[in-house]
Subunit: 107 residues, 4 copies
């Protein structure tokens, strides 16, 4: 991503603020794919010939902007995730969280 942007002289556009908006745009496109689908139908979206390629592409776009955003911010995304997962395990103990949507929502 860094080389890709540098070769095209796009670093000037890639401020974190701008990249958050670009990420948001891609997440908006994900919403457009799923907006009129029921939940059950949504489970097959990546194998439905009408939506499969589109779903894969939007997921990829979200990841690409997320990685680029982390890079320009100087954030080690792997470390951030490992750290967050450890805290999630403490915050949502198995015993009190089981089947409990409200608990989950309150985060």
């Amino acid at each position: 991503m860094r080389v890709f942007a540098a070769e095209r002289d796009w670093e000037q556009f890639h401020s974190p603020k701008n990249l958050v908006m670009a990420l948001t745009g891609e997440v908006g496109e994900l919403n457009e794919i799923f907006q009129w689908m029921g939940e059950a139908e949504s489970r097959y979206a990546a194998t439905n010939p009408d939506t499969a390629q589109n779903v894969r592409d939007e997921l990829a776009d979200v990841l690409l902007y997320l990685v680029r955003l982390s890079s320009v911010l100087g954030v080690d995304l792997n470390a951030a995730v490992t750290d967050k997962l450890a805290r999630n395990h403490e915050k949502y103990p198995v015993e009190t969280s089981r089947g409990n949507r409200r608990k989950y929502c309150e985060k």
Copy 2:
């Protein structure tokens, strides 16, 4: 993520449709961090003591939901990204894309 959700009996909530909304919520929180910052200031958001932990946590949350979403959809996120990157190289040749924001926007 899969084990984490299964242990808590949260698979019932993790339809792709629901996870897209959860991903959107986290991206909304990223926007809230950056909304009143200038572009220049945004470049230091992950080292500013007031926002650093918050930035790291929101990036992690976005990645966690993105990975979980890809998993329930059965999408190989690595393959999707490799494929998209190859097409991006074709779509934005270095010669015609250099410093060209409009070209970039049109995608």
Copy 3:
């Protein structure tokens, strides 16, 4: 809104770019309310004591930022809506659009 912002010297923060991000943050909060609800349940969200006030507040926040954004952009929102509605009537004729989700999606 204009007076409210001027009295607090907040006009400096209210560029359209920033307000789009603030609007996005509020829409993210709307997503968080609805993310784990089923579609049927979502129809009662504004009468459910647990979510009613929250739903009303987030809808208000979205409208407030949308109106402020239109104002700083100099856009007459009423005219923009009237114009768009007229085009939607042409784009989705009753005969060919009835019950047709795909047609709707393609917009």
Copy 4:
């Protein structure tokens, strides 16, 4: 909006959950317009011939989905806004809020 949806038999798709996602999609498109613009440039987006119509259309789309969403939820959007504005006046007193971005952010 209600008649428009009823005539096309689209009420079946217009659950609040789905409409929140549709609203999100439109807000995503707003982000795409502004993502590579600087803040100063963003102030002219609605008079720039390249973006003016697009800006007006996206603002209209956001309002249309917001009104439809409020309608299916049974929320009186005017009352919700009046109520929220009154609370905002209490929450952000002029004296302590002036020029204070942090205060504003903490909401």
